[in-house]
């Protein structure tokens, strides 16, 4: 038995069932809010959604179509050199499934011109001087859920499949991340071009895990006018996808960053745990459950569960800057600021 807020409870209280939702109710609520926010509050005529082919943007697009109708939803496919062809196929499949207007704009030439790939490769070559343009790479997070400070390893792979990895120091880490952040920021620039052109709002597609833990690029994918699923755990987003009748290949897709040239799961890059476990960890932490209960549920030690809780708090602190609006030195009360 465990004691939670003065009440003795069975140690089996935390199960995946805590994330169950009533999808019809949730869908109705989001759709009503979308109509109110986009139409009444923001005075826009529709929404732009960037379609990555992943579960979050797919659900956001489907909810937008339910709320506003397909003629008021504009989709964007924005592949680049390192994104997978499968993602583009899934985005296209979804747009056609939803019967929305969409266009494809390959952003690789823009990224090339702005120096995205060059800056990234320059940083990689400081770590691996032999790195060539036809090699692949990715970043992998380590440390946090083992009780250490978080750090990143750079993984590179030669065309014949030979892999090497090294820990990154802060300069190379920051430069690689800054360079790849160009991708999200260029995409957002294009989203706002079309939003301005059509007098639409831009939909941001983070789920609760991403929003809470700061897994987004400031002024990149973090920028939007409305974020319909930021209150939903990833598990719940998958449930909505099934309820909304999205193609099974999307409903069964595994979350990836689709940002680096080597295949990279979100758990490798940022969360360090598969989303199902991260969802339960975040839910347990949000509801004040002791580490013992999370440990029991996930089949890990109490110490590991405490490390997960600590990592959640660390990421919240570290990424508060991403959520923050620009800070004024003095108030401007006429604007309520």
């Amino acid at each position: 038995m465990l004691t939670i807020q003065g009440t003795r409870v069975a140690a089996t209280k935390l199960t995946s069932g805590v994330l169950d939702i009533e999808p019809q109710t949730v869908t109705d609520r989001i759709c009503q809010r979308l109509v109110d926010i986009v139409g009444r509050d923001q005075h826009r005529r529709g929404v732009v959604v960037a379609l990555s082919g992943g579960i979050d943007s797919s659900v956001c697009a489907a909810l937008s179509v339910r709320a506003l109708g397909p003629s008021r939803v504009f989709g964007l496919l924005m592949p680049e050199k390192d994104s997978s062809a499968a993602s583009e196929d899934l985005g296209k499949l979804l747009a056609e499934h939803l019967k929305i207007e969409y266009i494809k704009q390959n952003i690789a030439p823009t990224l090339e011109a702005i120096g995205c790939y060059q800056w990234r490769d320059d940083a990689i070559r400081i770590v691996f001087p032999e790195y060539q343009k036809d090699w692949k790479s990715k970043l992998v997070i380590a440390g946090g859920i083992d009780g250490r400070f978080n750090y990143f390893k750079l993984v590179v792979q030669t065309p014949d499949g030979k892999r090497q990895e090294k820990r990154l120091d802060h300069k190379q880490y920051l430069q690689i991340v800054a360079a790849t952040n160009y991708k999200q920021r260029v995409r957002k620039t294009i989203e706002y071009f079309h939003a301005d052109r059509l007098h639409y709002a831009v939909v941001g597609t983070p789920n609760r895990l991403e929003y809470d833990q700061g897994f987004f690029v400031k002024n990149g994918d973090g920028s939007a006018d409305v974020k319909p699923i930021a209150h939903l755990y990833k598990t719940q987003v998958y449930a909505l996808a099934r309820f909304l009748g999205l193609p099974s290949v999307i409903c069964n897709s595994k979350p990836t960053t689709d940002t680096y040239s080597l295949p990279q799961g979100q758990d490798e890059f940022y969360f360090a745990l598969p989303y199902e476990k991260m969802d339960l960890s975040l839910w347990a932490h949000n509801h004040g459950l002791p580490a013992e209960e999370l440990a029991y549920c996930l089949g890990i030690s109490r110490e590991q569960a405490e490390f997960i809780y600590r990592d959640i708090e660390t990421k919240r602190r570290t990424t508060a800057f991403l959520h923050a609006k620009p800070v004024l030195v003095e108030n401007v009360p006429e604007l309520g600021l």
């Binding site: 250490r148 750090y151 990154l168 570290t318």
Partner: protein, 82 residues
Amino acid sequence: MNDIKTQVRQYILNNFLMGGDPERITDSVSFIEKGIIDSTGVLELISFLQETFGIRIEDAEMVPENLDSLEKIEKYVDSKLT
């Protein structure tokens, strides 16, 4: 021994706090709990310690018990140098 703490305190003051009162960073204050250093700052601190003291900080050693206060850093760096 004091030299390690003095150098690290000065680095933290200059690099993370843009100057200020050295007394703000007492020997035992937690950099993380007090919001003095964030996770990127930890990586910067590790680079500083490696370059300044000529040590290699292994992955397994990147723990708060070694790096989250001046006195912990002093003890840790001293152990690496001896």
